[in-house]
């Protein structure tokens, strides 16, 4: 994937260069969900490139239920003070004020996330209005490009958060890859008309779709997320073309103790840094030990699925 993303987007503004640039600097890394200072320190010591500060990891969000909102700024500030790596936080889909609060806190990236309860059933946040950059989830190319059009500078697969089942994340990256191949073919065979037709079909901006076809990849960094639980899961997502990995519940859920969580965290960092090296993947899998028990995606009821939130 020897693509210069910045060169690919030569027409973009300085503002977007800086937003997308931070995501470019996170490539090849692991972003870990953390709920307190101790977990944030474990993540930093293990080599995480960033942490996502939230009140509960997604598997516990599933268990507790109720309306899930932005985390308490007090907790976010404590985590910001405890680590030197970037700190991200989640806002509800469409909740402009939660985003404003996170921006004012000096959060490094806002995740407008389906893991929280959506605040708007019509509109995502207009992300170009903010100085803070945004990462958003997608299940397919159209959804990814709609978020980029709104100003997202970083994309992740939605997967199915909190399950420890990687199947949905795999489905989403495979769908994105297949649609990028389709866009390339459309551009090659039908030119602008082919792109315009496909753009209508998938609900994407034709200019961004053409850029994607020319680059042969999404025009911003794309991480895996949602159900990545083991070093092998993480390496699988890298081999499928993701630029890095978010791990939510996979580090701290069902960990035996602090040291086990730290080992899991180190093992996943190692797997992402050496995603084609089978010897390193064996070592990482041993170091990781028992994974979270998880919930099979197939056993989820429709109303329990988070990936369907947003559009």
């Amino acid at each position: 994937m020897a693509t210069n993303l910045a060169n690919g987007l030569s027409s973009i503004s300085d503002d977007f260069t800086v937003k997308a640039g931070l995501a470019q600097m996170l490539k090849g890394g692991v972003i870990m969900d953390v709920t307190n200072v101790e977990q944030a320190r474990i993540a930093e010591e293990a080599g995480a490139v960033a942490v996502m500060a939230l009140e509960r990891i997604p598997s516990d969000i599933r268990k507790v239920g109720g309306v899930v909102r932005m985390s308490n700024p007090e907790m976010i500030k404590e985590i910001q003070a405890a680590v030197t790596i970037p700190v991200m936080a989640k806002a509800r889909i469409g909740h402009i004020v939660e985003c404003q609060i996170l921006e004012a806190l000096g959060i490094d990236y806002v995740d407008e996330s389906e893991v929280l309860t959506p605040a708007d059933d019509q509109y995502h946040v207009q992300k170009t209005d903010f100085k803070v950059p945004f990462v958003c989830g997608c299940r397919n190319l159209g959804e990814a490009l709609r978020r980029i059009k709104e100003g997202a500078a970083f994309i992740r697969t939605k997967g199915e958060a909190g399950t420890g089942d990687v199947v949905e994340a795999v489905k989403h990256i495979r769908t994105v890859n297949a649609e990028i191949a389709q866009a390339k073919a459309a551009l090659a065979s039908e030119g602008e008309l082919g792109i315009a037709k496909l753009a209508r079909e998938i609900g994407a901006d034709p200019i961004l779709l053409k850029q994607t076809a020319e680059l042969g990849r999404l025009p911003v960094v794309n991480f895996a997320a949602g159900g990545v639980a083991t070093p092998a899961d993480a390496a699988l997502m890298m081999q499928l073309g993701c630029d890095g990995v978010f791990v939510g519940s996979g580090i701290f859920k069902d960990a035996l103790d602090r040291e086990h969580a730290a080992k899991r965290a180190r093992a996943i960092v190692k797997a992402v840094a050496n995603w084609t090296d089978k010897k390193a993947l064996i070592e990482a899998s041993i170091e990781h030990g028992t994974a979270m028990k998880g919930i099979s995606n197939a056993d989820l009821k429709e109303e329990e699925r988070l990936a369907g939130r947003g559009w």
């Binding site: 994937m1 470019q24 490539k27 890394g29 680590v83 190692k270 840094a273």
Partner: protein, 238 residues
């Protein structure tokens, strides 16, 4: 005489690797008589194939932890400080090449060293303070116009910690209402920038640095051909 082929590595533990390789490819067209190989470096074996190295931007804490686990620290120190091969670090790479760093994580972080400076990590604050600024980089030559410096959670050189004049300041930036900060330095074979030329379409810094690499290797080839080939070059450039 410049060597016929030069291998330039980009340390590929994490971060902006492909961006550097893409711009190095473009920059290499300035030297049509030389065959360049650009190599992603993840192991000591790959490093041993390199005549020069770029350490990209990324998270310096992550790079240090991964480099330690892969047994790369000692080979990197040898490459930079004993063999004195040309090395360029951008952002996190500058941090890695500093002898000292402040505002590091609790317990500190491991550095390669090579630049007698202390860097201050995340000088400007969090991502909302990241910025782009026109830089006047005289080493690029007159009349070329300013260089668009992209600063992302950027470090700066807080202090030159060795007074013997080997560290040359090659660029500064001044944000409104703040003091001037050092953002480009060179000490012999080691070059460091706080900003990210690899995030622009502007090839000038890459072309300038490749020119330095060619020059350094040309001097080595002159008298010490065999020494270079055995990987024990001790070329001094001042």
């Amino acid at each position: 005489m410049p060597p016929p082929a030069i291998t330039v590595g980009v340390l590929a533990l994490q971060g902006g690797v492909v961006e550097h390789i893409a711009l190095l490819h473009r920059a290499s067209s300035s030297y049509p008589s030389i065959t360049f190989h650009f190599l992603e470096v993840r192991t000591p074996e790959q490093l041993s194939l390199c005549d020069a190295l770029v350490i990209p931007g990324g998270e310096s804490t992550t790079m240090a932890i991964v480099a330690r686990r892969l047994g790369l620290f000692e080979p990197l120190r040898e490459f930079v400080k004993i063999n004195h091969k040309p090395v360029w670090g951008t952002c996190a790479g500058l941090v890695m090449l500093a002898e000292e760093a402040s505002a590091t994580k609790q317990g500190g972080q491991e550095l390669i060293g090579g630049l007698d400076v202390r860097v201050l990590r995340n000088k400007f604050g969090t991502q909302v303070q990241s910025f782009v600024a026109d830089l006047n980089l005289e080493f690029l030559g007159d009349g070329e116009g300013p260089f668009r410096g992209v600063f992302i959670r950027a470090p700066v050189v807080e202090e030159v910690i060795n007074g013997d004049g080997k560290v040359r300041v090659l660029g500064t930036v001044k944000k409104p209402g703040e003091e001037e900060d050092i953002v480009a330095v060179r000490q012999g074979n080691v070059f460091g920038t706080s900003f990210h030329p690899e995030l622009t379409g502007d090839v000038r810094v890459h072309a300038w640095w490749l020119g330095n690499v060619v020059e350094a290797l040309s001097q080595s080839v002159k008298g010490e051909d065999l020494v270079i080939r055995s990987g024990k070059s001790v070329t001094e450039q001042t």
